[in-house]
Amino acid sequence: MAQDNPTQPHQVLLLLPSHCFTALESKASHKFHFLKAWDSPLPQAQFLQSHATSSQVLLSFPKETPITAQLLQLLPSLKLLITISAGLDRVDLAACRARGVRIANSSPIFAGDVADMAVGLFLDVMRKISAANRYVRDGFWVSGGDFVLGSKVGGKRVGIVGLGHIGLQVAKRLEAFDCKILYNSRKEKPSVSYPFYSDVCELAANSDVLVICCALTAQTRHMINKKVLLALGREGVIVNVGRGAIIDEKEMVQCLVQGEIKGAGLDVFENEPQVPKELFELDNVVLSPHKAVLTADCFTDVTDLAMANLEAFFSNKPLLSEVVNY
């Protein structure tokens, strides 16, 4: 592998291969020079030390490769991290901040698909769609008569935890179902008219359903604890499209088993792909294997966004999806 050429224009460092990269490479190989760490026989750290000292841009999938302080040490010229994810919980944000690294993620692209998943899970829990589908397929409609009644979605109070890109898209959708939107966020958003609750427990007490759309951080880990779940109450439903660890999973399972809350729609879990086995016994829980962003369209769009961010960076224009104040 040739020595890293500091004057080579538009170099983009990648650590591991992926579907997204393959799509990007075919669209963009004439515009950017992709430095692929996995092509080298050298172990990653050594490769970076000898070839990536002037690399300014890293395109990464934090799920596969956590961006740690140690990794950043090996990239002294790094100015921009582009992550193919919305979540930044596997990026050492303090280390990035200290080194003045800018971050662009894929939130705007994922927002629609994740919001769709949140609404889909919510409708499924309330109207028992998956359970009813099973009822028909198991032959019970013929032998057992009418299926049980579900719960009306219209008029329900939806408490959104985290009113970022994704939370706002969830709100927009559920307003069309005549739901009343409330929210909790790090800071109140003056641009929206939804009632703000600075305390997530109070939000729960005033909601019929909680939709978790926030990032996983030290502050939000196990933020949805027993107190919040009990405040949500026996008629309450929880939907999680954030990260499993935002909810105290053990407590949530207990609450579901004991009927302290009415149901749950979950795309994420604390220890994926492990799912608490108690949930398999419950008909009022809808389980999804962390696929909120896994649509074919999403991958095309994410690739396009990465390319647009790269073009913007190399021509000193504003990034399209910069994460400010991280």
């Binding site: 629609g112 698909d113 919001a115 769709d116 998943m117 609404v119 889909g120 899970l121 409708l123 499924d124 309330m126 109207r127 028992k128 769609i129 998956s130 009813a132 589908n133 099973r134 009822y135 028909v136 397929r137 409609w141 013929v142 009418d146 299926f147 009644l149 579900g150 719960s151 009306k152 979605v153 219209g154 927009k172 959708r173 559920l174 307003e175 069309a176 179902f177 005549d178 994926e272 792909p273 492990q274 799912v275 398999f280 809808v286 389980l287 999804s288 294997p289 962390h290 696929k291 896994l294 649509t295 074919a296 369209d297 999403c298 991958f299």
Partner: protein
């Protein structure tokens, strides 16, 4: 009014039964061994029928009840009521519009998301332990997909309102174009099917709309198209639908209604791009109670000689 005979052919709501029993002499043929004889025995006291989507009143039943004055349906669709005979005999008919519009529209979107995003199938994937072996495959985005609606009435408009919040362009087919609608109109169902990704059936079942979803429409909707039926089973040529799904000529289907409920074609059970619901469009506690109140309200209004609440034109 306790002596007024009200016939309820099949069970449909215990709350409704309760409320009717407080006011009328409710006759429930399913509680006795000889249903037909039971109806005959009470034929001169029956002045009202409470029907629903499954059981209404055909010409034969109407002829057997000489004192019948009103049929109050626990549904908005009244395809099971012989309207022609009712008109001839001056029998009034009421249904339950508006109170169930939201629930049915909600379900249409719920079905669409369940089919496109494979919610039921990926649920099964998790429950059967397969997630431990690997991630689920890519599914199809809903946001931004064109939604075609057959019938832009109350329910059709409510479906459109919800789909718009997902940035879906809306197109429709109706008996006549609606001049005050901002949505794109297609003069035939085939053209609508050819120009949308998700096709929703939201019109009443009449002689004209029977099998409105036929082979031609299904082929126009195509291998990436999804059919959502929240209308009536006979809107769809079910045999054609099944073969199209089995052969891959249609991308997927979300069905709440079937030609011969509760029977669902078993060839559909093995298909992962199909979601099958047991006619639960209005099936929430809140809405069924509101529908029941409307049924009771209409009967009371009739027998107290007040204006009907929701007469069928």
């Amino acid at each position: 009014m306790e002596s007024i005979g009200v016939l309820m052919p099949i069970p449909m709501s215990s709350y409704l039964e309760q409320e009717l029993e407080k006011r009328f002499n409710l006759l429930k043929p399913w509680t006795v061994p000889h249903k037909t004889q039971f109806i005959k025995d009470h034929s001169t006291s029956i002045r009202a029928i409470v029907g629903n989507a499954s059981a209404g009143a055909d010409a034969e039943l109407i002829a057997a009840l000489p004192k019948l004055e009103i049929i109050s349906s626990f549904s908005v669709g009244i395809d099971k009521v012989d309207l022609k005979t009712c008109k001839e005999k001056g029998i009034r008919v009421t249904n339950t519009p508006d109170v169930l519009t939201d629930d049915v529209a909600d379900l249409a979107i719920g079905l669409t998301l369940a089919v496109l995003r494979r919610l039921c199938e990926s649920e099964r994937y998790v429950r059967s332990g397969q997630w431990k072996k690997g991630g689920y495959k890519l599914t199809t985005k809903f946001t931004g997909k064109t939604v075609g609606i057959i019938g832009l009435g109350r329910i059709g408009k409510a479906v459109a309102k919800r789909a718009e919040a997902f940035s879906c362009p809306i197109a429709y087919f109706s008996r006549t174009e609606k001049p005050d609608s901002k949505f794109k109109y297609y003069p035939t169902v085939v053209e609508l099917a050819a120009n949308c990704h998700v096709l929703v059936v939201a019109c009443p079942l009449t002689e004209e709309t029977r099998h409105i979803i036929n082979r031609q429409v299904i082929n126009a909707l195509g291998p990436r198209g999804v059919l959502i039926n929240i209308g009536r089973g006979p809107h769809v040529d079910e045999a054609e639908l099944v073969s199209a799904l089995v052969e891959g000529r249609l991308g997927g289907a979300g069905l709440d209604v079937y030609e011969k409920e509760p029977h669902v074609p078993e060839q559909l059970f093995a298909l992962e791009n199909v979601v099958l619901l047991p006619h639960v469009g209005s099936g929430t506690v809140e809405t069924r109670n509101a529908m029941a109140d409307l049924v009771v309200g209409n009967l009371e209004a009739h027998f107290l000689k007040k204006p009907l609440l929701t007469p069928v034109a």
